[in-house]
Symmetry: C2
Subunit: 336 residues, 2 copies
């Protein structure tokens, strides 16, 4: 690009915006649908049931151990489709950029998006760029929306948890929250904690191959495992009991949480999912999950109960039981 | 809502965000797809070809004569689908909100979105909310993405303009740009200029009923009619000649442009479209357009030529011809 900094005119709708698209976005995301260069992408899906989702990413700082806003924006929206049982078929990308942002930074972020989208096999098919004046936004926000197709017979819904179901968790928790927090606070750990940000759609399809009757799936992002379980308990009108000893938490994350006064149950995850499944299928599902790179640390963490509808409780390490509430305030703004 | 101001916790993923969704967004947008309360909306479209588009709205100020960021965000994304020949079937809404925004303002904007979506018959089916700290964004940004279905036989593309085609414009130009600019500068006109922001999908379907072989359609938003015609000329590899005397510009807009030193050809429109159509169908299309509320001021403004590929020129009122370039800088940042 001829410019080293983003100018207001890069969001103008005129020639400089076209330069930015042609010189930066198109080379990065190049694919036939995007090359149509119309204001919309046209799909020809092979099945009839579609999933559609949106997420805006405002993470601060833009780069953190193991990732950046770009790959996060791809993974996060893919995962919102995946946990609905959908195979993602396309993403949109909407950029809101602060005047003065270094083009090199935008390039690195766009490259990370491209790499994440390629690795996931999900094209970015349409986009939009706005530039606002210095001070009107903090460097860069990205919205990604996504479309996916859902196979017949798959019916995953937050209201489907049933008495006796088993709660599975696909990976270690708290890593994304600690990674972003440590970067923000300038804390260095001897063993760095990196984000778990990754795409989960292949893991989900592997799980659906084993059991198409998965009742609920959610990715515990903002608000963490605690808030996601509370959402499910409330939507399904059931109780959920989890076992503290079963929660997969690395010593590094636990140490960081102790240091920073954080509870890993409330920290954001960007590469883990919670699945609520019929007990009869849980062993086969766990075995299948552990065979995938995304699910190697999968665990059974709890069960669904018909008593105490709407309530989540945890059997603690010392033998007691405590209520696990939904996150009530804000501990880590702009975590994703 | 219990709160009068948006707090950081309203974007937390925890209970206060759920309060905001339940008390403000859900009542506004209420529809069965949104009520699924999953992270994605599931469609069951009746045809196979889909359009998918995204747009972020950063207009400043949030309210301007005739509209606000909310209805603009609905109309703009519907129009991006419409000009692809698609019938919109659902929108997403992603909010990035500055801590401290008055809830009353957000409510008014959400109500305007709801009204616009209802009037258009297009539901908002999935959403996302982020809140950033004071100073990290300017009050409110909204991303809307949209999906639409395209009937068989419709093939509208910026590359389809052909020698001899006719250029139609559906309505008066420059109104949105002047309305926002006058609000921003605190200028009052004796006859106020209001935005032309409106949904164009019904007009487009009426046009397709008359002629399914429309070659190109675009809505001349940022960058105006001049930039849109240049995009088409470049994509199709044709020349375009327009006639200055045929451009529908109200005396109020012309007066405001003279006062503010603006060229209406470069001002944003949010309720007008340009169609490039076979000459043989142009009269029937114009007649049909003028029968709709959205197209009552429709005009033929020019023709497509095989010479001077990529170039747009204008026959001026005084009998000369001048080149109409694409907008090169930024005249009105944050116009949409």
């Amino acid at each position: 690009m001829r410019h080293t900094h983003i100018l207001l005119a890069h969001g103008s709708g005129g020639s400089m915006m076209h330069d930015l698209i042609r010189e930066l976005f198109l080379p990065a995301f190049d694919n036939p649908l995007l090359q149509q260069s119309n204001d919309q992408a046209v799909f020809d899906p092979q099945t009839k049931r579609l999933a559609f989702t949106t997420d805006s990413y405002v993470v601060q700082p833009l780069f953190f151990p193991g990732g950046c806003i770009g790959d996060l924006a791809v993974h996060g929206t893919i995962n919102d489709l995946a946990v609905g049982g959908a195979v993602p078929i396309g993403l949109s990308a909407g950029f809101i950029i602060e005047e003065g942002l270094e083009v090199e930074i935008l390039q690195r972020i766009v490259d990370a998006m491209k790499l994440a989208a390629d690795n996931a096999g999900v094209p970015i098919v349409t986009g939009d760029t706005k530039v606002v004046e210095r001070g009107a936004c903090d460097k860069l926000f990205i919205n990604t929306s996504g479309i996916g197709v859902i196979a017949d017979g798959v019916n995953i819904d937050g209201a489907n948890a049933r008495d006796g179901d088993v709660v599975l968790l696909s990976g270690c928790i708290g890593e994304h929250g600690v990674a972003v927090m440590s970067e923000r606070k300038g804390i260095r750990f001897s063993t760095p904690v990196v984000t778990d940000s990754k795409a989960l759609h292949r893991l989900v399809q592997r799980m659906l191959d084993v059991c198409s009757d998965i009742h609920v799936m959610r990715d515990p992002t903002r608000g963490g495992v605690a808030s996601t379980l509370n959402e499910i308990a409330s939507q399904s009108g059931v109780g959920i009991e989890i076992d503290e000893a079963s929660l997969p938490i690395t010593p590094e994350v636990q140490g960081a949480c102790d240091l920073l006064g954080l509870d890993p149950l409330y920290l954001a995850n960007e590469g883990a999912l919670i699945a609520i499944v019929p007990a009869v299928h849980s062993d086969a599902l766990l075995a299948a999950m552990r065979e995938t790179p995304e699910g190697v640390n999968a665990r059974m963490i709890g069960t669904v109960l018909s008593d105490t509808p709407g309530l989540v409780r945890m059997r603690t390490g010392i033998g007691g039981t405590r209520i696990v509430n939904m996150l009530s305030g804000e501990i880590l703004p702009r975590i994703c």
